[in-house]
């Protein structure tokens, strides 16, 4: 019995062309004869196992299960299409990352962290792709919209849930540096940058910068560090 359930699911997953949820899989069958979740998961696992030696794989994403071409096949398969896949700008990716990690977040908050105005066209693109949506409004004057990511966003990046996102880099720990310099600072100077404030008071900062800072500028460009790579 398991074999034919497996085949039905495989056929459906290939026919539909998008992720299929467990509910939708149940509804492939008449109401009187629907498999339970355990049976479905069992069949799906078996199918997954069948694919290990193949060029395709079965994975679970936010919207359900999907059969897709393996990543290691990319270098051949991508040659089927002339147009290259879209390359997203850093601005778009930074905006998207902020929304993904800090949702719900307003445009103003995004601007505070990035230090630049949020581009309207970027927000529009993200909404058109259905990667972000307005989830609420902040209860302050102006009632700015708060944004969050969608299931389609997770599907696109091959994720089951937000927990699959790569973890954020830790803020540089100032404690270790303090200990090294033996400032005898209070414990609990966490990775939060609030620790920076106040902790540096004990440091002997030069009150007057040394002469080198006031050297007249020779010519324009020579003193500037030149980037050797483009971003």
């Amino acid at each position: 019995m398991n074999t034919s359930l497996k085949h039905v699911l495989e056929a459906a997953l290939l026919a539909v062309g998008r992720p299929l949820s467990l509910d939708e899989m149940c509804n492939l069958f008449p109401e009187s004869d629907q498999p339970d979740v355990a049976a479905l998961r069992g069949a799906l696992e078996e199918l997954q196992g069948d694919y290990t030696a193949r060029g395709i794989e079965l994975i679970e994403v936010a919207s359900g299960f999907r059969i897709q071409v393996r990543q290691d096949m990319e270098r051949w398969v991508s040659r089927l299409w002339e147009e290259k896949p879209p390359k997203y700008s850093r601005a778009l990716l930074e905006t998207l990352a902020l929304i993904a990690y800090r949702q719900p977040i307003t445009r103003g908050e995004i601007e505070d962290i990035r230090g630049v105005t949020v581009s309207t066209s970027i927000m529009k693109t993200l909404q058109e792709r259905e990667w972000i949506r307005v989830v609420a409004h902040r209860d302050v004057p102006g009632r700015p919209a708060m944004y969050g990511t969608t299931r389609e966003f997770l599907d696109y990046f091959n994720l089951k849930s937000l927990e699959g996102l790569p973890s954020l880099a830790e803020l540089r720990d100032i404690d270790s540096i303090n200990a090294e310099l033996d400032f005898g600072l209070p414990e609990g100077g966490q990775r939060q940058a609030q620790a920076v404030r106040g902790d540096l008071t004990a440091i002997d900062m030069p009150l007057v910068p040394d002469d080198t800072d006031f050297h007249p500028v020779e010519a324009g460009l020579e003193d500037l560090p030149v980037p050797d790579t483009l971003h």
Binding site: A15, T117, V196, R197, L200, L221, D223, H231
Partner: protein, 300 residues
């Protein structure tokens, strides 16, 4: 092009002798020009403005630029030499303006902020105020670190396998679909309700057929004759049946006129607007009591 070999002859022939050194330097060169490692910019280096224009436009904002300046010189973000950084930053701003690059206002705001931080650090710390004064650089450092996190996060996000770029959707040809007609089960009650509706509508279409019942004048003539006798007069109006409606009255009148024409009945009237009496012709009928005898029976 660091080689681990001690032997100068192991180098390719085109590498000049002075470059065939034992690698021992700790500072990484940022450029290798014709085999020679460079660790500092030559004084007479010329950078075409176009190149710089492209480079400068690639910054995502003032924070990005500052991060670049810090990282490029391997500065410690937690201990930024504000004066030097401000100086370099301002040079970049000037350059951008000279190249007429559209400078977002944020760059100028940052320039002002850097200048402010620098001045605060220049001011002598009041005696005995230890522990109260925050590091003026603190907020800037916090913002730089925060931005750096998400800049990295954006890169990491882009590194995830993307649908259509790294992994691809699959599909299979589906056989010709058989249109399964969904037959709705019909309830008997529904059927009766539908029938009732039809009947109601049918009723609205029923109309009173006013049928022209063919009233024979001849038949009416016989009727009228049968109602009278030779012996007595009958009042005119009794010959009519109003229930029959107008048609009936008309037919009776026609019948009477025909009978009169045929001299089969007699009509008499005592005076104008008086009662009219009808009698079958022939015979002598006694005139009714109230009949005036001055007028003969009307001949048709």
């Amino acid at each position: 092009m660091m080689s681990d070999s001690d032997n100068p002859t192991d180098f390719p022939a085109d590498v000049p002798m002075d470059a065939r050194e034992q690698p021992h330097q700790v500072e990484m060169p940022f450029a290798i020009v014709q085999g020679t490692a460079m660790t500092s910019l030559p004084q007479d280096l010329y950078i075409p403005p176009d190149a710089l224009e492209v480079i400068l436009e690639s910054f995502e904002g003032p924070l990005d630029l500052l991060l670049y300046l810090i990282k490029r010189q391997n500065l410690d973000i937690l201990d930024i030499p504000i004066a030097a950084i401000t100086h370099q930053y301002m040079k970049y701003i000037d350059l951008m303006e000279n190249l007429r690059l559209e400078l977002a206002a944020e760059y100028l705001v940052m320039a002002a902020m850097l200048a402010e931080i620098k001045s605060r650090m220049l001011l002598p710390r009041p005696a005995g105020a230890e522990g109260e004064e925050d590091d003026p650089r603190a907020e800037l450092v916090r913002r730089l670190q925060e931005y750096e996190r998400y800049k990295q996060a954006a890169e990491d996000l882009d590194g995830l396998p993307q649908l259509g770029r790294d992994v691809f959707p699959t599909s299979a040809q589906v056989p010709e679909r058989q249109q399964t007609k969904q037959h709705a089960d019909v309830d008997l009650q529904e059927l009766l309700l539908a029938f009732r509706d039809v009947m109601k509508r049918a009723e609205m279409f029923t109309h009173h057929h006013i049928q022209m019942e063919p009233l024979s004048v001849r038949e009416r003539m016989s009727n009228v004759l049968s109602m009278m006798s030779e012996d007595r007069f009958v009042e005119f109006h009794t010959l009519f049946t109003v229930e029959e409606g107008r048609m009936g009255v008309v037919v009776t009148l026609l019948a009477i006129l025909e009978l009169i024409k045929g001299a089969l009945i007699d009509l008499i009237q005592a005076e104008p607007f008086g009662q009219i009496y009808v009698k079958a012709a022939g015979g002598h009928a006694d005139l009714p009591e109230d009949f005036e005898t001055t007028v003969d029976s009307a001949q048709a």
